[in-house]
């Protein structure tokens, strides 16, 4: 249900500017590259223009584009009131030029079908041409499709330096397979890589679709899994998660996406058979095979696959040994809580790959599980950080200021849920201005990549030890560089024998970043403790403890970081009682999912208590998901893995029909339709899950 209100646009300074800008930056695109770009030339038709052009109407069949020149493609007689606009797009089907052309034509039709509200005026635009640019990250080239309306479809290719390339006849299929896979990896990664950050995309002029639902022909997930062997060897070109220091064939964004797509589509059998076929030629595939088996809950087969491979390796250590051991250690740790075995396995993984963060991460986690605080801190300190790596986010190719007068950001009026879609951003800004600066500037909130993970560990440790004891551990184990320097500076009159630094021999240098994390932890703990004390005090006095939603959110996030989920939930809940907040909702959703796990595994509840508790949690989860779905839609985003993963849990409990009725009973029709489209239809039609239909 695409509407004009769901299409953000940016007006170009001059027609063609965005394409030129993109072309000039192709050389700078790295790893996955930028989101896809859609540009349009719009005009206001007069009687004569519409008449003269209808003669050469053509079908949407792509023309061969041999010997084409870029300027030929974009020069055009200037039309009345002609303007250029652009937006970004992720998740559209880019598996062939026809699919792209169909999508472009749909967009153009929506723009043309009725007058557009354009910077306060009604404008009856027609689209003269509309283009799509998709970065092929495997081959480092830009694939472009142009639809002239009425007229032909053309597609062409630019290499990184902006030169037009010929698409060879025999090579065309491979090119489009890569382009398609690049798009899937890009759109899935942007969402999954930023799960912790709430999947936030700061490039507002982007339409984000569910890539698995946008196939013009065929099942996208299935196509992707089947294409995987074709692009596998070039996977490292796409880069990898920020905690990987050297990407490998089995550890990169392509492989992460394979696992995520398989899980989302619940298509484990296909993935398993594709990987099993690859195994003889690519023994390292066992790493992915084991992951897919675990994801599909085929634990015993996974364990056997790992065991057999390690046995076959013997004393001759394969390159991927560390990765395979990490998969095993993670299983032992998270599914079996067998921290002792996990520790041994993780240690062997560290010995194989001491410069990778993940083996260390699992070793730290094992030590925490074993309550071995000293070793947890020592291994944390020894972990190799990757300060230069960032999570994959969309970045603007064409600079646009936040408050640019060229930004056309319509309100999608097809879905209305007042408290969510009608949220006044001015109110939020005002809250922001009024909030205590110390609360807004809590530095732990901005930790990135491996530092974010390391901080999580530190909070887990402090939950076990308390702050005072943690400080004692710190000074027992570590020396700060400054202390050492002071101690090892010889006294002015040297006594010639004793080195005062000797006392530090048993300690090690505390890494600067870890020292910094201790300070951030202190800030968080201070804020948290103060809040809790204040609240107790107010409650003791029977006075109402009032905070703005943003303040509750910041307190909630602080508690959340510290692992105090109950207190965090209280804060988010109070804030949400006052107004909607996407961030609070996402975090609260996560906490409910954790609580749901706890309830399910609880042995202390009677079965009726358990059912009631689950029912309550399911209802809260549904509520949050639907609201967030409306919020995302309001910001032109129809795809969220957080929501799909959360809803899949509820679907398993209730079944689709009951869930659908539940939503219908609580929300207005437009919202129900949206939830059906973006959430329930996915489970019904795009997965191999065992849901009633």
């Amino acid at each position: 249900m695409l509407s004009q209100g769901s299409i953000p646009e940016v007006k170009e300074d001059s027609v063609g500017h965005a394409l030129e800008e993109r072309k000039s930056k192709l050389m700078q695109f790295q790893d996955l590259g930028p989101p896809d770009l859609i540009t349009m030339t719009k005009y206001i038709p007069s009687a004569s223009t519409s008449g003269s052009q209808s003669n050469n109407k053509r079908t949407l069949t792509p023309e061969p584009s041999l010997g084409i020149k870029t300027q030929d493609l974009h020069t055009h007689d200037k039309l009345k009131g002609e303007i250029g606009t652009f937006l970004y797009c992720a998740g559209a089907d880019t598996s062939d030029p026809t699919s792209i052309a169909v999508y472009l034509k749909t967009l153009a039709d929506v723009i043309s079908e009725e007058p557009q509200i354009w910077f306060g005026k009604h404008r009856q635009y027609k689209v003269a041409r509309i283009t799509y640019s998709a970065w092929n990250a495997f081959r480092k080239c830009d694939v472009r499709v142009v639809v002239h309306i009425p007229g032909a479809v053309q597609s062409y290719l630019l290499d990184a330096s902006g030169e037009i390339l010929q698409i060879g006849e025999d090579d065309g299929n491979m090119l489009w397979a890569e382009t398609f896979a690049s798009g899937i990896v890009r759109s899935i990664t942007m969402v999954t890589d930023n799960k912790e950050e709430g999947e936030v995309n700061s490039v507002v002029e982007t339409r984000i679709l569910n890539p698995l639902m946008s196939g013009e022909i065929g099942d996208v997930a299935e196509t992707f899994i089947k294409l995987f062997p074709l692009v596998y060897a070039k996977g490292p070109t796409l880069g990898g998660p920020c905690d990987v220091s050297v990407v490998s064939k089995t550890n990169n964004y392509l492989c992460e996406t394979l696992v995520n797509v398989t899980r989302l589509a619940q298509n484990f059998d296909l993935a398993h058979s594709v990987l099993a076929d690859m195994l003889p030629l690519h023994p390292e595939i066992v790493v992915l095979l084991a992951r897919i088996l675990f994801e599909g809950d085929r634990e015993i087969e996974a364990i056997k696959a790992i065991h057999d491979d390690l046995e076959a390796q013997g004393t001759s250590i394969a390159d991927y040994r560390s990765e395979l051991l990490c998969v095993q250690a993670k299983f032992l740790l998270t599914r079996k809580r067998d921290c002792k075995a996990a520790r041994s396995v993780a240690e062997t993984a560290v010995n194989c790959s001491p410069s990778e963060f993940r083996p260390w991460h699992l070793l730290v986690s094992s030590y925490i599980g074993l309550n071995d605080v000293e070793n947890a801190l020592l291994t944390l300190n020894a972990s190799p950080m990757t300060p230069l790596k960032e999570k994959f986010v969309f970045k603007r190719v064409v600079p646009v200021a936040q408050d640019s007068p060229n930004l056309h950001l319509p309100l999608p009026v097809d879905v209305i849920l007042d408290e969510v879609t009608g949220l006044s951003s001015q109110d939020v800004i005002n809250e922001h201005r009024a909030v205590d600066a110390s609360l807004i500037n809590l530095p732990a909130a901005n930790l990135k990549s491996t530092f974010q993970i390391a901080y999580k560990f530190l909070t887990e440790i402090v939950q076990k030890t308390g702050w005072e004891a943690l400080l004692k551990y710190r000074s027992k184990l570590f020396v700060m560089e400054e202390e050492y320097q002071v101690a090892s500076t010889p006294p002015s009159e040297s006594d010639g024998s004793k080195n005062p630094a000797d006392g530090f021999r048993s300690k090690r240098l505390c890494e600067r970043w870890l020292d910094n994390l201790f300070m951030l932890l202190y800030e968080d703990l201070k804020t948290y403790t103060l809040w809790q004390a204040e609240q107790l005090h107010f409650e003791a006095q029977n006075t109402r403890y009032t905070k703005s939603t943003l303040e509750w959110e910041l307190l909630g996030l602080c508690a959340y970081r510290l692992g105090h989920y109950r207190e965090a939930a209280v804060a988010f809940d109070r804030g949400l009682a006052q107004r909607f907040s996407a961030q609070s909702s996402r975090k609260l959703l996560h906490i409910y999912l954790l609580q749901r796990e706890t309830v399910k595994n609880s042995t202390e509840l009677s079965s009726s208590q358990l059912l009631t508790a689950l029912r309550d949690l399911d209802n809260s989860i549904i509520d949050l998901c639907v609201r967030l779905c409306c919020w995302n839609h309001r910001w032109y985003c129809e795809f969220s893995v957080i929501l799909l993963d959360a809803m899949s849990v509820v679907v398993q409990d209730l079944g689709l029909t009951k869930l659908s009725n539940e939503i219908a009973s609580r929300f207005p029709q437009s919202v129900v339709d949206l939830a059906q489209r973006n959430l329930l239809d996915f489970f019904a039609n795009y997965t191999h899950g065992d849901y009633d239909k």
Partner: protein
Amino acid sequence: MSTDPVPMEVSLTVGKLDASLALLTTKDHHVIEFPTMLLPDNVKAGSIVKIQVSEDAEKELQEFQEFQNLQSEIMEKYGTHTPSKPEVEV
């Protein structure tokens, strides 16, 4: 088949050292970052140290066996159909 372990010996000068790392240089211009902690006490900038490296085949075998044992345990514990096992074995 396998050659006898030949220990490598090398002489190094200790350069700058801080709490964690010392920079050691060899006569033929290799630089090694070495954990200060693993240096003998009293070593300071300007000291000369001798480093001997030898392969520890015995320990290697022992570690390998420990690893094999751990893997067998994991396999036994989590990689077999525990309910069906007694029926077959007894």
